[in-house]
Symmetry: C2
Subunit: 340 residues, 2 copies
Amino acid sequence: IQKEVLQNQSHKRFNILTGEWILVSPHRTKRPWQGQQEKQPGADRPSYDESCYLCPGNTRASGDVNPEYTDTYAFTNDFAALQKESDPFVINDGLLRAESEQGTCRVICFSPDHSKSLADMETGDIVKVVTLWQEEYRHLGQQKDIRYVQIFENKGAVMGCSNPHPHGQIWAQSSIPNEVIKKDRSQKEYYQRNQKSLLSDYIIQEISNKERLVYENEHFVILIPFWAVWPFETMILPKKHQSHIGRLSGSEKTAYADAIRFITATYDKLFDCSFPYSAGIHQAPTDGKDYDHWHWHMSFYPPLLRSATVKKFMVGYEMFAMPQRDITAESAAQRLRELA
Amino acid sequence: IQKEVLQNQSHKRFNILTGEWILVSPHRTKRPWQGQQEKQPGADRPSYDESCYLCPGNTRASGDVNPEYTDTYAFTNDFAALQKESDPFVINDGLLRAESEQGTCRVICFSPDHSKSLADMETGDIVKVVTLWQEEYRHLGQQKDIRYVQIFENKGAVMGCSNPHPHGQIWAQSSIPNEVIKKDRSQKEYYQRNQKSLLSDYIIQEISNKERLVYENEHFVILIPFWAVWPFETMILPKKHQSHIGRLSGSEKTAYADAIRFITATYDKLFDCSFPYSAGIHQAPTDGKDYDHWHWHMSFYPPLLRSATVKKFMVGYEMFAMPQRDITAESAAQRLRELA
Ligand SMILES: O=P(O)(O)O[C@H]1O[C@H](CO)[C@@H](O)[C@H](O)[C@H]1O
Ligand SMILES: O=P(O)(O)O[C@H]1O[C@H](CO)[C@@H](O)[C@H](O)[C@H]1O
């Protein structure tokens, strides 16, 4: 009976990581759509584009020249949202509160090949990306005023990506951001009470339940979390309780790369297009405190809902009240499993 | 010195209503934009469109026929995300938590004229919209299982609006949504400590400071909050401490309608287009408890950043870490003031 009400009645689900609720309206998929259609991403791209500021050997807007890199390449963003040199300040002026924020923004090229995306790279090449993420996490995290290292990728023009060259970003900063604070609180509470990570127990429950499971290998699972917000949102989780990606062994890195390859390629099959998303890794802050309670994970937030051109809009109600979704996590997981 | 650092250095600002921080990168506006361009909304629309399901006399997808309404018109959404009849349930299954959510979704037509928007309606006609909002808030709020009434408008295709006919929505539901809970907590705390509403004191500070003030009449101010997230985000605030729109007197309604007219028309001038946004009213929940600490307000979240076709993307970093903006609240307020 429980399964049935969740597929038929409007309800809310609790996000155990953030402590927030999301609204689910499973009956609403029948709604006709006369609204905005997104542009289809241009089909084939060349392996090299002389106007691309990320291709090897090209000159960027700053005048810097990219090396003739053959695997991955990382550099500091020429238009970084966070600056390292700024003077610290605190403003407490009546009801106005502000604080300086130090940090740095890095661009991470995944491949020298302009035509690729993670979805069509080899596992071995994705391992190189993972290794670079590890190095950046370690190196940035060691810096004096860096308390959090946010690794992410915006893929596709509809996700605000201005360059189709396969790349992600890292923003590392002096304070711990909102979303991470929420997840830190829930994981810490659970760990102190149960001496186990929250996500270890969650993985066990999802593996036995199977409904929301999309993929499994020796070291990782991919699932649609019970509280997913985006239509085809997924999460890659290490089965072993690890607080950050720096702890990955060689074989775990390969298994992680396999999982990334699987989900990005499956996404591309779903609507037969280069599937847009924002992906990000949440892991232990780097302020030197104890974060054993953290269980790192990577989330994919893809906007497409019905086809390559119809996305879910998080507007109005979602901005003022709470996130809302139409298709359930369970039916989305089934569709992804069927494509595999 | 304080003003200067806020216009030049990356920093974070505190939202006194939600208790969350936002990242400001004032130096970042120089960044070139090669990413997605939005479609310009089609220019002139006819006053009546026979294919529009909101025009007077037309038949909707459900088969229902709209009356020949001459001012405003409200009806229950044919594809409502919230249902009234569903059976209540609570699921607590290990780490899975869900609860039924009852409610109703209403569509609020602002005008019979398909070609209009709030920006080009007369004050007197906007007063009729405000009166309808009051009636709906009161009527829905009195229903047994309705604890919150969210009034909002999605304007423009880029904000997920699928019909250009001037209209808004109301989603009324059995639980109090995330955003409202946050604002409830901050306002209650302040009210208990100071015996004054948080926003009364904030308005006093902003009126004397003037930097973020955009408009003022006898009963209302419009300002860009210090912690604004969207590039040209604004807030309409009643000067008098009122917990919900039901408390508005006749002359206050006219002053409110004037403020709505002012800000929507000013937005249209900014990039010379029908300016898209999501707008919403946050006010006292309707569960019968004491909400004297609430000071209602209306917020506009418009996505456009640089022109009619270049918007701000809240993706990647913003989804995983915290909201980020480029232009400061102060420079945005100045631009809006200059257009007036
Ligand atoms: O109800 P509409 O206008 O069809 O739909 C629009 O507003 C809703 C409420 O903000 C959103 O859930 C939808 O994603 C959006 O497209
Ligand atoms: O840095 P980019 O790729 O130019 O910019 C993109 O990602 C950033 C981080 O998520 C966002 O702040 C921008 O709105 C988005 O367009």
